[in-house]
Amino acid sequence: MFRNYQKLYTINNLSINQNLAGLQSVRWRRKPRWLPTAPSKVFKVPERHVLPYDEKIEWQRLNNNYRTQVNSIRRYLIKEVEERQKMFELQETPADEEAEFQRCFVMNQEWNQEIAKGRISRVEGENEKRREEILLNLEKRKQREEVILHHVEERVKLEKDVAETFITRETVDRAIEIALANPVDFNYSIDTNGKRSDIVEEQKSPENL
């Protein structure tokens, strides 16, 4: 199990390459505490380091002094900060707070007015633009409708012209007569242009019958 983890946490899996591009940065280069003892270290008894007496007492003295220094300075700074905080709190009276609020309020009002001026001019500009846009759209719409109306009228005119040839209740007899008088023969051939190759007989009106 350890070996699997070791791959993750140690530099053994660095790709050994002459090329710098093959380098890989490793954040943890040793076994984390929560993993079991490495197989190679199971029977290893670490050597015990014993400081010589001279060094030991000197080391103790330096450490004691250092800790006292740090603790004392720390206490001093804590006290200093607390005192400043207290002074700051003492300085503020309700009247001071009110004055500070008024100052902030006035400043805020000024800012609001400045912003309001800008807003009015901006909104006016926007409205003007919008009005123009709407007018333009109306104009366009009118033109479009005119074109459509024109088309419609043309179409109606065409239909009216064509309507004269419609077979109505009154003209049905006449139409039947014409149809009977002009039997149509579709048995003819066409050339490559789609034209009839034989001569077309002229249509005969019922009067000519």
Partner: protein, 185 residues
Amino acid sequence: MSAIKLIGRKTDFKGKSLWEILGNLKNFGENRVVVRSMMERYPEKSFMRVLQVETLPNEENRKIRVLVEKVFRGRKYDKPVWIEGASYKTDYRLLSKKEEADYCKVQTTEHENIKLIDPKMEFPPLLKEFLIKETGNKDIKLDVFLKRGHNKFYKLAKEGETPNITIPMNIGKPASQKLYKGLDL
């Protein structure tokens, strides 16, 4: 008998656990004196007189609860102390009854070798410069802070007492000059 070869880390402990000692004594060794070998490094005597013993469930490191009258470095504690968490440590030694009288002789409330520390010390150089600029006071000094405890062997000198020791802000006076050969400290 074959020779015993010990393998593993060396230990500072020397002796037996409290269970091993007291479990074999009459009345669980009440009124007997045990000593921790770790405390024998001090010049003053430290020992514990057993007042009461309670047993606990048997686990890997066998612990027991022992009420003791404790003397640490020649100073006797006001109240008896319960030992439980440290009872498994194989660091206790039973004093024989012959030894007891001699060993437990000296008990003083006030210690002779107590260190009296100067309650004022120098500021660190940069901070001192800042403070002199700010306050204009050139003799500004830092209050020394020491941990309080009932069995400490140092204390801050009060008014009227002459301090033995001043905490330096520099390297100070070396405890062993040998290490600073050629340096004038």
